[in-house]
C-alpha cells in the first residue's frame, strides 16, 4: 500500500471524528508520568511519552473482566458477557505491538478465547514509530522490537509537521479513508521518512551482550544456574514485574454473587506466577515453592517457554518490569549474567 501523509493538525480532527463512534484510548499524562486512558479530547493525547506503567494490554485483557452471568434460581441460566466496544488504540509503541501479536497468537490458537477475541476483533491499532528511547530501561533494540512490519492497522512516524502513515490492514485503510483527510506521500516525504528512520537507530543501544536468537538455547542450559537462588533471596514476590508486563497473560477465575446469592458472574482477573499461591493446589502442595523457582519460571517464560510454544519471544524489551522492580531485578542483567556464566563455563 502506498504511504500516506497526515498533517499533525489533521490528526486531532481525525480523532474528533472517531470519538462519536469509537472509544479512543492513548497515552495521557498521569500521576507524574503517562498512562493509557480513554480520551474525550485529542488534546489529552501525549504521543511523545515515556513508557506507561501498565501496557495497553489492559484493553484486550482487562485486569477484571466478566466472562458470563448466571442465575441459580432459573435452573442455572448462563449468559456469556461481552462488554467490548469498538475501540481505537492510538500511540502504541512497537514493543507493545509485538506483545499484542503474542497475545493474539495465544488467545486465538488451540481453544480460541471468545472473550479475548470479542475485544481484539473490535480494536483498531494505530501505533507510532519510536524515534528515541522512551525509558532508560528499554532494550527493544536487543529484542528486535524497535520497529514493526505488521500487527497494526495504521502506523505513524513523526516527520515534524506531519505524520507518515503506514497502512497495515484493510480496516485501517477504511478508517483513514472515512475519518481522516490525508494526502499521498510525495517523493520528498518518502526520503524524509527514510532519513528519520535511519537516524533513529544509533540513538538506541543494544543492551544484551549476545544476540537474542541465542536466548532460548542459553536458557535451556541455565535451569540449574545459581542465579535463581540469588534472585529468590532478593525478590519481594510483589508481582509488579508481571503485572506491568505487556506479554504476561496469566489469569485467575472467580465467582462473584449478588447479595441474594442467586445471581452473579464469573470474572477473570490478572494473576501472577510470582505470587505464592499461583501453583498451589488444595491441600497446600506448591509446585513452585520457592521464590527462586518462581523467578526462574518467569525468566524461562520470557526467553524460552513462550518461544517454544508460540514462536514469539515472551519479552519485548519494553523495560517496564525493570522500572517497576524495587530490588532491581531486570531481564537485561539476568540474561547477560547467564550469558557470562555460560561463557565462563565454556571457556574453562
Amino acid at each position: 500500500m502506498s504511504l500516506t501523509i497526515i498533517p499533525k493538525i489533521e490528526l486531532s480532527n481525525f480523532i474528533n471524528r472517531l470519538l462519536p463512534r469509537y472509544h479512543v484510548a492513548g497515552p495521557v499524562a498521569s500521576d507524574g508520568g503517562f498512562a493509557f486512558a480513554l480520551i474525550n479530547d485529542p488534546d489529552e493525547l501525549q504521543l511523545e511519552y515515556r513508557t506507561t506503567i501498565l501496557p495497553p494490554k489492559k484493553y484486550l485483557l482487562p485486569p477484571r473482566e466478566i466472562l458470563f452471568h448466571f442465575e441459580l434460581e432459573t435452573n442455572g441460566w448462563v449468559q456469556a458477557s461481552y462488554q467490548a466496544h469498538p475501540t481505537v488504540l492510538i500511540g502504541m509503541h512497537t514493543c507493545d505491538l509485538h506483545a499484542f501479536q503474542l497475545l493474539e497468537r495465544v488467545f486465538t490458537s488451540g481453544f480460541p478465547d471468545s472473550n479475548y477475541i470479542d475485544r481484539s476483533s473490535q480494536t483498531l491499532i494505530i501505533s507510532i514509530e519510536c524515534l528515541a528511547p522512551c525509558d532508560a530501561h528499554a532494550f527493544c533494540k536487543s529484542m528486535g522490537t524497535l520497529t514493526a512490519d505488521e500487527g497494526y492497522d495504521l502506523h505513524l512516524t513523526d516527520l515534524g509537521e506531519v505524520y507518515a502513515v503506514d497502512i497495515g490492514s484493510k480496516p485501517g485503510e477504511a478508517l483513514l479513508k472515512e475519518y481522516a483527510r490525508t494526502r499521498t506521500a510525495a517523493p520528498d516525504d518518502i526520503s524524509r521518512l527514510n532519513a528519520v528512520l535511519n537516524e533513529k537507530w544509533p540513538r538506541f543501544s543494544y543492551r544484551l551482550d549476545f544476540d537474542v536468537s541465542d536466548l532460548p538455547s542459553l536458557l535451556s542450559v541455565s535451569a540449574k544456574s545459581p542465579i535463581w537462588a540469588q534472585l529468590g533471596e532478593r525478590c519481594l514476590g510483589c508481582a509488579s514485574c508481571t503485572n506491568v508486563c505487556p506479554t504476561c497473560y496469566c489469569f485467575d477465575v472467580r465467582d462473584e454473587v449478588e447479595m441474594d446469592l442467586q445471581r452473579g458472574q464469573r470474572v477473570r482477573v490478572w494473576d501472577s506466577c510470582q505470587l505464592d499461591e499461583f501453583a498451589t493446589v488444595a491441600g497446600g502442595h506448591n509446585f513452585r515453592k520457592s521464590q527462586a523457582m518462581r523467578q526462574r519460571h518467569r525468566f524461562m517464560r520470557k526467553g524460552k517457554y513462550i518461544y517454544d510454544a508460540y514462536g514469539y519471544m515472551g519479552c519485548v524489551g519494553c523495560g517496564r518490569c525493570a522500572r517497576a522492580c524495587l530490588v532491581e531485578i531486570n531481564p537485561v542483567s539476568v540474561f547477560n549474567e547467564l550469558y557470562r556464566l555460560r561463557e565462563v563455563v565454556q571457556t574453562s
Binding site: L67, F68, F70, L72, N75, G76, V78, Q79, A80, V106, F107, G110, F111, P112, D113, S114, N115, A223, Y249, C250, F251, D252, V253, R254, D255, V257, L261, G264, R266, R268, D271, C273, F278, A279, T280, V281, A282, G283, H285, F287, R288, M293, R296, H297, M300, R301, K304, Y305, I306, D308, A309
Partner: protein, 289 residues
C-alpha cells in the same frame, strides 16, 4: 515439545462451547458417598450432548457462585450414554459446594479437556494399574474401558493403595473386579484396622508380590505427587520402558484450555498436553515431578 490435544470445538457434540468459558448445565442424577471425604456423582448431561471422551480426560465442574474445579471423568467411555460419573473429594470451596448438592440440582460442565491416555496403543499389552488414593477415580475410567474390551488386552494387574481401609474407594467395584477372575487385584493400606486382613504397607510394597514381563507391559499410575517418585522407581526397576509408563499430573487449573498459566510445567500446559503423560515425555521437564 509435547503435542497439545486437538480441541474438539464442534458444538453440540461435546460440552465445549464456542463461548469457551460458559458451562453447559447438567443435572445431578445420583450421589453416592464412598468415604467420609469422597462422593460419586452421576450427572446427566444436557439433552443431545455427549462427552465423547477418552479415559484420563477431565471436566471443569462449576458450582455456580462458588467456582469451578477440574475433576477427572471417572466413568469409562464404554459406559457413558448420556451420563458421567465424577468422584469428588471434599477439600475446599468448590468441592464442598459439590458435596452439598442433592439429586436434581444443577452443575456447570465444560469439557472434556486434556489428552487422555492413548488406550488404543495399550491394546495387546499387559496392563499394570497403580493408583494411590484418589488416583483410582480417574484410573477407574481406564480400567473399566479395558475390562469392557477385555479380549484386546493381556494381563490386567491392579495395585491399589490407600491410607486406611475406610479410605478405599469404589469398594463394590473392587470386589467385582476381584470376582471376575481375569484381574489380578492387590490392595494395601498404610495403616490397618481391626477388620483389615489384607496387606499393610505403602503401595510400593506390593511390587514384590508381582512379576511382569516388562517388554509387553504398559503401566498407568495416578496418585499424589509424593507417591510418584517411589512408584516410578519401582516401575523403572521392573524394566518397563519410560515410554510405557503413564501417569497423570495434578496442577492448579483455572481455564482448562491452555491459557491461564497455572498448570504450566515449563513450556507444557498440563491441561492441554496432559494431564496424562508418559514418563518419557516429562522426565526432562524441570518441576514436573
Amino acid at each position: 515439545m509435547i503435542a497439545p490435544a486437538i480441541p474438539q470445538t464442534q458444538s453440540g457434540r461435546t460440552l465445549v462451547n464456542d463461548e469457551i468459558f460458559v458451562p453447559e448445565i447438567g443435572r445431578v442424577e445420583k450421589i453416592e458417598p464412598l468415604t467420609a471425604l469422597e462422593k460419586v456423582f452421576t450427572i446427566e448431561l444436557p439433552q443431545g450432548k455427549s462427552l465423547n471422551h477418552r479415559p484420563g480426560q477431565f471436566l471443569e465442574i462449576s458450582a455456580l457462585g462458588v467456582g469451578e474445579a477440574p475433576i477427572s471423568i471417572s466413568s469409562s467411555p464404554s459406559r457413558s450414554n448420556g451420563f458421567v460419573e465424577l468422584c469428588v473429594r471434599k477439600v475446599g470451596d468448590v468441592t464442598s459446594a459439590l458435596h452439598r448438592l442433592r439429586p436434581g440440582d444443577k452443575v456447570g460442565i465444560r469439557g472434556p479437556f486434556g489428552r487422555g491416555f492413548p488406550i488404543e496403543n495399550f491394546r495387546g499389552k499387559d496392563i499394570l494399574f497403580a493408583p494411590g488414593g484418589l488416583g483410582l477415580a480417574p484410573l477407574r475410567s481406564v480400567i473399566n474401558q479395558v475390562l469392557d474390551e477385555r479380549a484386546h488386552f493381556g494381563r490386567v494387574i491392579i495395585l491399589y493403595g490407600a491410607r486406611a481401609p475406610a479410605e478405599l474407594l469404589f469398594k463394590d467395584e473392587l470386589r467385582q473386579w476381584e470376582a471376575r477372575g481375569d484381574v489380578e487385584l492387590h490392595l494395601t493400606v498404610d495403616r490397618g484396622d481391626e477388620h483389615w486382613k489384607g496387606h499393610i504397607g505403602v503401595i510400593t510394597t506390593l511390587f514384590k508380590d508381582i512379576s511382569v514381563y516388562p517388554r509387553n507391559t504398559v503401566a498407568v499410575t495416578i496418585g499424589p505427587p509424593v507417591m510418584y517418585r517411589f512408584v516410578l522407581m519401582e516401575l523403572l526397576g521392573t524394566g518397563i520402558s519410560e515410554g510405557n509408563i503413564w501417569l497423570s499430573l495434578e496442577r492448579r487449573m483455572k481455564c482448562g484450555i491452555g491459557k491461564c498459566g497455572h498448570c504450566q510445567i515449563n513450556n507444557v500446559y498440563t491441561c492441554q498436553s496432559g494431564p496424562s503423560f508418559s514418563y518419557k515425555e516429562i522426565k526432562g521437564l524441570e518441576e514436573a515431578l
